[in-house]
């Protein structure tokens, strides 16, 4: 079975069909070797490949292969139009009773988007739900981190070989994920990350979950594809809206129009999932803010220059700046490009 999976040529669907017709993986292999199925390349690959070498590669990284029937092969995969022949996994095995929700979004999100993703994942973790995502930079990484920081379990699905950390800068993150949770890949060791693999891996993200949350995404993005897979599988799709002027809000807003459930934050998500959980987290304007701090916070609209904030709040610029810096140190305000804005945490009040 492992060998079959490693054949990069035929699509998973045609391999499944072949196995079905021939009755078993070994017979399918025999057919390919005989030249009755598959291509010339496939025959050559089989002839030159040593299964034990592949097994050794897997052992070296602590990975295992899972075929339909194995615990790491989520049964939901078979509901896909194009189920994987098998998957590779590292870390904690998937447990049948797990509740899993996917949180996905843009690789270049806004700072607020990352905050939201992290907070959602945190809320899910506290409620005992696993967060599934793609391990990419941006929203995916923020979601994984949010779950991990709350002591929760998270699952990452890679668009590269099971041993290939892509992107490289997330290597540390993958190690953290593997320690508590699971890393899954459809691709054998050594497969590099290539653009066409990511849409394919998105279907697995959807299939692993009972719902998909879209935080931010541009119009034609991988995030959109993941949402569409979710729809095909009959899963719930949740979306966090953004301002109509933002290119990153196009996918969530479009999905909401098409029927996705609008959520404003963790409280909404948990409610819609029917879960009890700590929705408040650290959100909301904390008590114990001085009058000046409240005034400045209230004066903050969208990104504003310190001088503008001072004008609206009716205080000298130096004072306003001091208050802003103080608020920033408490995580209620963020400085971006010389301007200040409220953080997501400060928004719920």
């Amino acid at each position: 079975m492992l060998l079959l999976r490693c054949l990069l040529g035929p699509t998973p669907r045609s391999l499944h069909a072949l196995i079905w017709r021939t009755g078993s993986a070994s017979r399918a292999l025999a057919r390919i070797r005989a030249g009755d199925a598959g291509s010339e390349n496939d025959r050559a690959f089989l002839a030159s490949t040593d299964v034990s070498q592949i097994r050794r590669n897997l052992d070296r990284v602590g990975a295992r292969f899972a075929a339909p029937g194995d615990p790491d092969y989520c049964p939901a995969f078979l509901r896909l139009a194009d189920p994987p022949v098998g998957v590779f996994a590292r870390g904690r095995p998937l447990v049948r009773g797990d509740h899993r929700v996917a949180v996905v979004g843009s690789r270049r999100p806004t700072a607020t988007g990352m905050e939201v993703a992290a907070d959602l994942a945190r809320g899910l973790a506290v409620a005992g739900v696993l967060t599934v995502s793609g391990g990419a930079v941006g929203i995916d990484a923020a979601a994984h981190r949010g779950a991990l920081d709350a002591g929760g379990v998270t699952v990452a699905v890679l668009g590269s070989g099971i041993d290939v950390a892509h992107p490289a800068r997330n290597r540390g993150l993958f190690e953290r994920i593997e320690a508590l949770g699971t890393v899954i890949s459809e691709y054998p060791p050594g497969t590099p990350a290539e653009p066409f693999r990511f849409p394919a891996r998105n279907r697995l993200i959807a299939a692993l979950s009972r719902g998909v949350v879209v935080v931010e995404g541009a119009a034609k993005s991988g995030t959109r594809i993941t949402a569409e897979h979710a729809v095909d599988l009959g899963l719930d799709v949740f979306a966090v809206p953004g301002p109509v002027t933002s290119p990153l809000a196009e996918t969530p807003l479009g999905l909401i129009r098409d029927g996705a459930i609008l959520i404003r934050g963790t409280a909404d998500l948990l409610e819609d999932l029917g879960l009890d959980g700590d929705a408040s987290g650290e959100r909301g304007v904390p008590r114990g803010l001085s009058a000046d701090e409240r005034r400045v916070l209230a004066a903050l609209g969208t990104s504003m220059l310190p001088t503008a904030v001072a004008g609206v709040a009716g205080m000298p610029v130096a004072e306003a700046l001091t208050v802003l810096i103080g608020l920033e140190l408490r995580g209620l305000v963020r400085g971006v490009g010389g301007r200040f804005e409220r953080t997501f945490r400060a928004a719920g009040s």
Binding site: R169, P306, T322, G326, L329
Partner: protein
């Protein structure tokens, strides 16, 4: 037949007196120059004879040997043309030797006998005054430079005939009027021309007051260059010593072109394709000051910092540390002063629009990483003030008031600088930027609130040790501008607000 006069060779910035001896004796007509003459001086051999003959003087049809003493000092530059010619004239008794005594002769000579503008005249005058000589005979165009040095008679000659006439007592040079003593056209740049950008204008004031270097990060068109050009307008005026130093450097580089003492602080903005030698000085024969030295006592502006060559930027560490640049050649080393304020500008990311209110950034994360790498490094560590310059929206620009004029801001800067000078009189430094780390904490005299805020910043902003020192120095300057003896919480908050996305992301990355 023997004659001797005094000339000067300019090495680096300083003038070294050279004794020029001429010996005319028996033998086939020839002219030999001894005493380690450089290439330009060797050329003199072929220049001088036609020049002298053109002036209707006689060139001896004998063997002529000219020696340039001291013999172990390399002589560079064409300024020795004139003394060599005069030494031969003295040797052949065409001019009286007593008249030439006590003067320094300096200048390149053309084939027609004109005395051409030559770089370095002010250094020549300084060297002559130091030697106790009574006068200098220099190219007329450069005479105004020599006039800046007290106690010297300045004779500006346009031709060899003028020189001979002076020595024979038949010609007097025109007086150098006071109006010629270095009046540069006032630049039209003024801080009031910057609309809005209150935070950036304030940062400029802080940089000027404390002598801090400044990095501006912002999208194209945000106004970084405009702001940089206005920094010299709010710096205190050059003191006479500073003016002399800067003028010498410009003179030696041949940039004075008939002007006298520099009145305004230099502003140098080399293009990012500049070579290391162009930035720091060098050259194969004549050692010329580089852009960093030409910015001495002024501002060196590096626009698009990431585009400069890495080795050129690395080499700026020395002047930023010591205030001088040492250039070594096989014949020895020369030190050029280079104490300048560094202003650097950069885009926030390769496409330039990260953090822009209207346009979104198109860069890939790995492009951004590489870009960030280019910005980091030892140079950045020496830049105390980092600032994000936002690109103003239309509304923000229209609503913005005109700022204070440079003169008003400069007064505050001067007052703040005076406070620093008084405070540091025993420490041997003149401004907060030069404070070493450990002393900064002591001198800052932080109020308890300020200490508390700093502590929270260390925790929540992942401030490094160096970052901490930077904030303290800048806060001390903010306090000086307010005339406060102790640094308050507000001063620290303002200092903390001067940062760019790079520090913030660094902090985030460190936090995991």
């Amino acid at each position: 037949m023997y004659g001797r006069v005094i000339g000067v060779t300019v090495l680096g910035v300083g003038g070294h007196p050279v004794t020029v001896e001429a010996f005319v004796g028996r033998g086939l007509p020839s002219l030999t120059v001894t005493g380690l003459p450089g290439a330009a001086v060797q050329d003199a051999r072929d220049r001088i004879r036609p020049a002298v003959e053109h002036a209707e003087l006689e060139w001896p049809l004998r063997r002529v040997v000219v020696n340039l003493a001291p013999g172990n000092l390399r002589k560079e530059g064409a300024g020795l043309d004139l003394p060599i010619a005069v030494s031969v004239l003295v040797a052949t008794r065409q001019v009286p030797p007593e008249a030439a005594a006590g003067h320094v002769f300096f200048g390149e000579v053309s084939l027609k006998g004109e005395v051409l503008p030559t770089p370095g005249v002010i250094s020549v005058a300084i060297a002559a005054a130091r030697r106790g000589l009574r006068g200098v005979i220099v190219p007329a165009v450069n005479a105004v430079e020599a006039a800046q040095v007290d106690g010297l008679a300045v004779i500006g000659a346009a031709t060899i005939q003028d020189v001979v006439g002076f020595l024979r007592g038949t010609w007097r040079p025109p007086a150098i009027g006071p109006s010629e003593t270095g009046s540069e056209p006032a630049t039209s740049a003024d801080l009031s021309e910057v609309r809005g950008q209150d935070e950036a204008r304030r940062a400029l004031e802080v940089a000027a007051a404390g002598g801090h270097n400044l990095l501006m990060v912002g999208s194209p068109g945000a106004g970084k260059t405009m702001l940089a050009r206005r920094l010299p307008t709010i710096l205190p005026d050059l003191t006479p010593e500073e003016a002399l130093e800067a003028t010498q450097l410009h003179s030696v580089a041949g940039l004075l072109a008939g002007r006298g003492l520099l009145r305004e602080r230099p502003f140098r903005a080399p293009h990012h394709s500049v070579s290391t030698a162009g930035l720091l000085g060098g050259g194969s024969t004549v050692l010329r000051p580089g852009e960093a030295s030409l910015a001495h006592r002024g501002v060196l502006f590096l626009d698009e910092l990431t585009e400069f060559r890495r080795d050129a930027i690395e080499a700026l560490r020395q002047p930023l540390e010591d205030g001088r640049i040492v250039v070594t050649r096989s014949g020895g080393s020369v030190s050029f002063p280079a104490r300048f304020t560094l202003v650097a500008a950069a885009n926030p990311c390769p496409c330039g629009f990260s953090g822009d209110p209207q346009r979104s950034c198109r860069c890939r994360p790995d492009q951004e990483d590489r870009y960030r790498q280019k910005l980091s490094g030892p140079l950045l560590d020496r830049i105390d003030l980092r600032l994000t310059i936002p690109r103003l929206t239309k509304d923000e620009l229209l609503g913005a008031s005109a700022g204070e004029p440079s003169a008003v801001v400069r007064d505050r800067v001067i007052a703040a600088r005076d406070r620093q000078r008084r405070r540091y009189s025993t420490l041997g430094i003149t401004c907060n930027a030069h404070l070493p780390g450990p002393i900064a904490r002591r001198e800052a005299q932080l109020c308890p609130d300020a200490e508390r805020l700093l502590g929270r910043a260390v925790d929540h902003m992942a401030l490094t040790g160096r970052g901490f020192d930077r904030v303290i120095k800048v806060a001390r300057t903010v306090a000086d501008l307010a005339g406060a003896a102790r640094v308050s919480e507000q001063h620290v908050a303002e200092a903390l607000s001067y940062r760019t996305a790079f520090e913030q992301d660094e902090g985030l990355a460190r936090a995991g």
